[in-house]
């Protein structure tokens, strides 16, 4: 199982694992919760901010309306003050213009004009053509028919005590055409007989400084503004009056005039505006505060972006948290799985899984530990038993000595004794005795190469004496390998095999050589004969079990090979090379670095 690194894998683990399932579910749950809470609070904030803001705007605009009312009130007071003045009566309606009254009136006008810079003009005009405007210094417009001016005729003919005009151009002063709002008041001639007939008009022209200031004070937000409509829906004041007059800007005036509500929404999208409306009983004007909804909601947008930020933070935390949860649940399971996999492959070294939880997984792990230990014990026991079995089998094999060999040797000794060959008898008997001792009395499974070579030498001595004219032998073993341990009864069966299968059938006298040396860190023993050799077929079957040399001590090459490989491993053992008519070489290879065991 190859693990590839990927950021996804880091976070999600294997997707088909319990961990990723838990991770997915927990994180979905958490993310969903965060998202829902965020959306709800965003909506709630939006609505509440909007409600609060429109309420606030409403309060502001009502305040502004009151301010404008009291402003107009104030101007009405001035108009009342002036028009009820006796001097005005005597100046306008007297038989002749009274210069003293004129002076006093001008004084009063001067006081008013000096104290109020929002009053552009004020004056009195009589139907009889007498008029007094401002400081009486400026020329009046000689070409203007005053009766074409609404502010004049309405004040004169209307029933109300005063008349407030909408925005209009004041033409009365020659050379000036300012836009003003005019408050005019009819003046009765007290000496006249007809009570209700007004014969003069007092007027105040208001420039926009006071009104624009009042409107600017009542502005909500950076882009909000306030404007005033008269009873017919004409613009009285608007911060962009000129643009509106030139049809370059529009306000939804019909909507404002048509509604009964205090607030109306107009437009769509980013152009959506909230009109807060307040109508004045006194002036008949409609005061409107306009604010862009977008701006109104800027606070809520700020809050919303904060929510989104926090939500994103929470989501990241939630992701880590769910990863943590899923890991803490599945980590022990994962460990257990990994351990099981390794145990499955035969590695018991990691079988002790650390358990720190006491839940089901903890007890599962404990059971697993107990189980693996038990298996480990059983396997070790099994190995020990196998070993013991192998040893006893080996012993059984080694302890075998071919009775025929013993009889033949003993026969040879008898024949020699009969032939009075005392010395040979002694040598052969001594060799036999040594052979027997080594084979029977030595309990050790392993001997040294030296001992094995000596045993071979004894055996060869006997055989050479038996086949006097048939064979000769040489032993040439490197003394440095003599101490290396070697399992018993290896060399002798190979030599026996060489004699009975190689040299025995040779016409002339044969030579058998035993060589011992080191090669590539291994110890190598070679049994070389120049007998008849073997063909390939014989060579192929040489390790087979049934090829037991019945004439020998019953330990065949198969037996030797099996024991060597059992003991030293499969890369060691015995190999044969042979050529028909030339001879055979048997090579025994064992590890060369074993500790001496004598």
């Amino acid at each position: 199982m190859k693990k590839k690194f990927s950021p996804g894998a880091m976070f999600l683990g294997r997707f088909n694992s319990i961990q990723s399932v838990i991770f997915a579910m927990v994180s979905m749950l958490l993310l969903g919760a965060v998202a829902i809470v965020t959306v709800i609070s965003m909506n709630y904030t939006r609505t509440s901010v909007f409600d609060n803001s429109s309420l606030y705007t409403q309060t502001i605009i009502q305040q502004m309306n009151q301010n404008i009312d009291s402003y107009i009130d104030y101007m009405e007071n001035i108009s009342y003050l002036v028009s009820s003045n006796e001097d005005v009566q005597s100046y306008l309606f007297g038989e002749e213009t009274d210069p003293e009254a004129r002076g006093r009136i001008l004084n009063q006008f001067k006081t008013i004009l000096d104290s109020r810079n929002d009053i552009l003009n004020l004056g009195i005009i009589g139907e009889n053509g007498r008029m007094l405007i401002n400081n009486a210094q400026r020329l009046t417009n000689p070409d203007l028919d005053i009766h074409t001016q609404e502010w004049y005729t309405n004040a004169l003919e209307g029933s109300a005590s005063s008349y407030l005009s909408s925005s209009h151009v004041q033409h009365i002063i020659s050379g000036e055409r300012p836009w003003v709002i005019t408050l005019s008041r009819g003046i009765r001639n007290k000496s006249s007989k007809s009570e209700n007939q007004k014969e003069g008009v007092f007027f105040i022209d208001l420039n926009y400084s006071a009104i624009s200031e009042l409107c600017n004070q009542s502005v909500v937000g950076n882009q909000g503004y306030a404007f005033i409509l008269d009873a017919d829906g004409n613009i009285v004041y608007h911060p962009q009056q000129q643009q509106l007059y030139n049809e370059l800007q529009t306000e939804n005036i019909s909507l404002i005039m048509g509604t009964d509500k205090d607030t109306v929404l107009s437009g769509k999208g980013s152009a959506e505006k909230l009109y807060s409306i307040s109508r004045s009983e006194k002036t008949g004007w409609t005061v409107v505060d306009c604010v862009r909804v977008e701006e109104l909601l800027r606070k809520s947008n700020k809050a919303q972006s904060l929510y989104v930020l926090v939500a994103m933070g929470l989501m990241i935390v939630a992701l880590f948290f769910s990863r943590f949860i899923s890991r803490s649940i599945t980590q022990p399971i994962q460990q257990l799985c990994d351990s099981m996999a390794r145990v499955q492959e035969g590695d018991f070294s990691v079988s002790d899984v650390v358990v720190d939880s006491k839940n089901e997984i903890g007890s599962l792990t404990k059971s697993f530990n107990v189980m693996t230990h038990r298996i480990q014990d059983l396997m070790e026991q099994n190995i020990r038993e196998q070993e013991a079995k192998r040893k006893s089998e080996l012993k059984a094999l080694q302890s075998q000595i071919n009775p025929h060999f013993l009889y033949n040797t003993l026969d040879s000794i008898i024949w020699m004794a009969e032939g009075k060959k005392n010395e040979e008898v002694v040598l052969m008997t001594a060799s036999l005795a040594r052979l027997l001792r080594q084979s029977i009395s030595n309990e050790d499974e392993v001997v040294s190469i030296g001992q094995e070579v000596e045993y071979a030498r004894g055996y060869l001595t006997i055989q050479k004496m038996r086949y006097k004219d048939k064979m000769e032998f040489q032993i040439d073993v490197d003394p440095s390998i003599l101490h290396i341990p070697l399992i018993k009864l290896v060399l002798q069966p190979v030599i026996e095999n060489a004699i009975y299968h190689g040299l025995k059938y040779k016409e002339s006298k044969g030579l058998l050589m035993v060589k011992g040396f080191r090669k590539n860190g291994n110890a190598v023993l070679q049994v070389i004969d120049n007998g008849v050799g073997m063909d390939q077929e014989t060579l192929d079957h040489i390790y087979e079990k049934h090829k037991v040399n019945y004439q020998s001590n019953g330990v065949g090459v198969y037996n030797v090979q099996k024991r060597l490989q059992l003991y030293y491993g499969s890369e060691y053992g015995i190999t044969y090379e042979s050529e028909k008519g030339v001879g055979t070489t048997a090579t025994i290879t064992i590890p060369g670095n074993q500790e001496g065991q004598q």
């Binding site: 990927s6 203007l144 624009s212 962009q240």
Partner: protein, 340 residues
């Protein structure tokens, strides 16, 4: 399912990155935009001429609203073609985003305007235009229509055989040519009654002089029609001075305080007023839209309106004749930008 996990992780990362980018964009979108620079070159700056005053006021108000720096550079006389070209050169050197110009000459400024255009400066024509079609935007009164309105009105107050004289401003200038053409159209058959056309070179004095000469030359003259403010006011002055306001009716194009007064006095029988404020305002507005890559119109007719003594005090006409100047008390935010 294993192979999807990479994608799921990538999707999550993209979501987070997208949300972050969105926030940043949202913050930036509410931030400021580049302040534009424009130069407006009218034919003249003259406090007595309401047409140019209103037009310049319009450009300035629109400039405040559209976050634009506008500089007005103008010759002192309306017919100063050389002076205007010199100013145009200066303006090109300043390398503004756009030059708005009311060309005095139909032909003489083309090469300079082309040069400005080659330098990447946007060109907007206000009120008049030139021979070649170099401009990006044109905002002007439909002068043929203005002339036609005046002609129709003139026809309505004249007897069939009354003699008519035209005092035009500058020979060859687009506005003069088109208004005259429209005037003749409006008069219909009575166009044959036109006895003379004279050019006052946008000077009150010359117009006064020419009109006086016309009155001497054609004793039966019943109407003088001025084709701009200078020519019509000059003509009205001459008629008033001669005390002939009852015999000779004066009609004209463009108003001023003096023109309004002369109408109150009964000298002017009708004036076709161009919507100068609107013209200036739209010129800057559309140019700003062009520069900011928004939708804009290339040809705009700002419109005109006939004013007579009967309707001159009506609210609609007052709105046109007398500018409501709120520029003195602009409402600004802390950045100095004017909000709508």
């Amino acid at each position: 399912m294993r192979k999807y996990r990479k994608w799921i992780a990538a999707f999550l990362i993209i979501c987070i990155a997208g949300a972050a980018a969105g926030m940043i964009y949202y913050r930036n979108a509410t931030g400021g935009e580049r302040r534009l620079s424009m130069i407006y070159i009218p034919k003249v700056v003259d406090g007595t001429n309401d047409f140019w005053t209103s037009l310049i006021l319009g450009t300035q108000m629109a400039a405040k609203e559209y976050n634009t720096e506008i500089e007005v550079m103008a010759p002192e006389e309306e017919n100063d073609i050389e002076g205007q070209n010199r100013i145009l050169k200066e303006a090109v050197e300043k390398q503004p985003d756009a030059i708005l110009i009311s060309p005095s000459s139909f032909t003489e400024s083309d090469s300079l305007i082309q040069e400005a255009k080659d330098r990447g400066i946007k060109i907007t024509y206000i009120d008049s235009y030139t021979e070649q079609n170099i401009q990006d935007i044109t905002v002007a009164t439909d002068n043929v229509e203005a002339g036609r309105q005046l002609g129709k009105f003139a026809a309505s107050i004249l007897e069939p055989d009354d003699q008519i004289a035209i005092v035009a401003h500058v020979k060859g200038v687009s506005t003069a040519v088109e208004r005259e053409q429209g005037f003749r159209d409006g008069l219909g058959q009575m166009a044959d009654n036109i006895v003379d056309v004279v050019y006052c070179d946008s000077s009150y004095e010359k117009s006064f002089k020419l009109t006086t000469e016309l009155m001497e030359k054609y004793p039966e003259l019943k109407m003088v029609a001025g084709m701009n403010e200078y020519s019509s006011v000059g003509a009205a002055r001459a008629v008033k001075t001669a005390g002939a306001e009852n015999q000779i009716q004066v009609v004209g194009v463009d108003s001023s305080q003096e023109a309004v007064q002369l109408m109150e006095k009964g000298v002017f029988k009708g004036i076709v007023v161009q919507k100068a404020f609107k013209m200036g305002y739209l010129g800057v507005e559309e140019t700003a839209r062009l520069l900011r890559g928004q939708n804009y119109e290339t040809e705009i007719d700002s419109g005109c309106q006939l004013v007579t003594p009967d309707n001159m005090y009506s609210s609609e006409i007052e709105k046109l004749l007398f500018p409501f100047n709120t520029l003195k008390t602009p409402k600004t935010n802390e950045k100095g930008e004017v909000y709508p």
